[in-house]
């Protein structure tokens, strides 16, 4: 793809004392963490712990009331969502956000246009851009939707919609991926396929994954980060976290 990588080690994401408040409520109350390049982090915690809000803070959807975010040592705290995307930060959503009324291929082409052009070309029909189509087709293959390229996104099965959702984050070949429950609502029969997809796309990227299915998280993550009440409770390898009594008390004990 066209984006030039800064180097093999690129993709470090660091946050310093991040705070997000809604009215009086502190959804994220001072989180600092250094996500190392190329690692996959499983972000877990009970409902309402602030996981998605933290992700929103990293991707630019939530306004910070304090703290800073760095991508490869560049301060991106003040960058808007699209600028962070351009800086190499991809994100998928818990609730599927795809472009309805358009085909799967069109969905992905939009992503490719967004990445290739700062000023969207207005002098030529979109259908003439072969390179964009190729970008889209490549991702189409990665997420296994080639056969459904011309189907309207509204008519995809839920599992395929989740695949498209993930596919949309891959355009532009981001160094950092924030995946918010990519498996949400995916049925048992497709689970293996979906996990397989995640394994394939995370290679070589820094990934932050929110997932409720503990087995999956423990299986795929290099490191687990546990959040409770807007704060970091613990972090470490899956085994360490599993063994951490505080985590057991605060989280695992509560069940899903």
């Amino acid at each position: 793809m066209s984006r030039v990588r800064d180097g093999a080690s690129a993709g470090g994401l660091r946050c310093e004392n991040i705070q997000v408040a809604f009215g009086g409520l502190k959804a994220v109350a001072g989180v600092s963490y250094d996500f190392k390049p190329g690692h996959l982090y499983g972000l877990i915690g009970p409902n309402g712990a602030g996981k998605t809000t933290l992700m929103n803070a990293l991707s630019g959807h939530a306004t910070l009331s304090g703290g800073r975010v760095f991508l490869d040592n560049r301060d991106i705290t003040r960058l808007s969502v699209h600028a962070r995307t351009r800086a190499g930060l991809g994100r998928s959503f818990q609730i599927t956000k795809i472009f309805s009324g358009m085909s799967v291929l069109e969905n992905l082409q939009l992503g490719a246009f967004a990445h290739r052009y700062r000023v969207q070309p207005f002098w030529m029909p979109a259908s003439r851009f072969r390179d964009v189509r190729e970008d889209a087709e490549k991702v189409l293959e990665q997420v296994g939707l080639t056969k459904l390229a011309h189907t309207s996104a509204d008519y995809l099965s839920h599992g395929d919609q989740r695949a498209l959702e993930v596919g949309l984050t891959l355009l532009g070949d981001p160094r950092v991926l924030l995946l918010d429950e990519p498996l949400a609502g995916v049925g048992h029969e497709r689970l293996d396929q979906a996990i397989d997809l995640i394994r394939r796309i995370v290679a070589g990227r820094t990934v932050l994954l929110i997932e409720h299915n503990m087995d999956v998280v423990m299986q795929v993550s290099h490191e687990i980060v546990v959040m409770v009440q807007g704060q970091l409770l613990a972090s470490g390898s899956p085994d360490e976290v599993r063994a951490n009594p505080a985590v057991r008390a605060a989280y695992l004990g509560e069940g899903e």
Partner: protein
Amino acid sequence: MTTSHLGRLAMAAIIAAMILVPVIQTSEESLNLVSLILIWALFAIGFDLIFGMAGMLSFGHAALFGSGGYALTLLVTKAGVGFVPALGAAGMVGAVMAFGLSIFALRVSGLFFSLLTLALAQLVYILASTKLRSHTGGLDGIPGVPRPELFGIDFYDNRNYYYFLIVVFIVGIAVMALLRASPFGKALQAVQANDVRAAQIGYNVQRLRQCAFMISGFYAGVSGALLASLMFYISPQMLHWTTSGDVLIMTVLGGKGTLLGPILGVAVFEVLKEKLSQYTQHWYGILGLIFILCTIFLPNGIAGLFARKAAGRPGDAP
């Protein structure tokens, strides 16, 4: 929404036939009516770029439309600028006004965007009709808006002016067709379909909206100038919010989000108004009934009649 290939052809044929009627028929009446339709159609396709494509319901287009008209009038009569450059300037003024409105209005979204544009445009209307009356002629407006002077052709002759309008219209619709099919147009559709995702894949959503609004403003400015010139007259009435309402109704009636739908909407609206008022004094109420029936039975406007029926590739607006 999607229209079938055949449907689009049918619509294009109807529009072309309508535009050419005055060429075949000698009646000055149809000439006048078609001229009016051409101008409003230009306004409507510009309006639909932000309404149908980008999903922003602007209630402030009257301000853009009227400013264009005033720009042309003042530039030609007071500053002695030629008509064609002034027409371009009118478009620019429309775009600049749109930029001005967008600075305020784009801070909010959805319904609040509509309301804020309405309020801002109404502010412009009030200013134009009271405080700026030395420039705008107040509510009395300015009579004697000129027509073009080109190649020694007398554009004060309605037929010649009508040909002039056709040229502008064709250029306008061609550019719009290209814009809509271009990556820029697709990006607007993406913004309408899901603005959060559009930003997340790297589109600068606010800038896209702003650009679209300005292009739309350009169309509004040019069409406002053409209307003033057709009428030989301009007044703040063009800036009144009901003008925004009119263009909205025509666009919805015709079918928003399609290139040709708004044009059909304008044609049906103008023809109905013109014809009904000739045949009955109760045209007003009948027009209202037609709106009500259309809203209930034609959810996708007139263009919806030409939509493909197959369900394989569904395409109704969300």
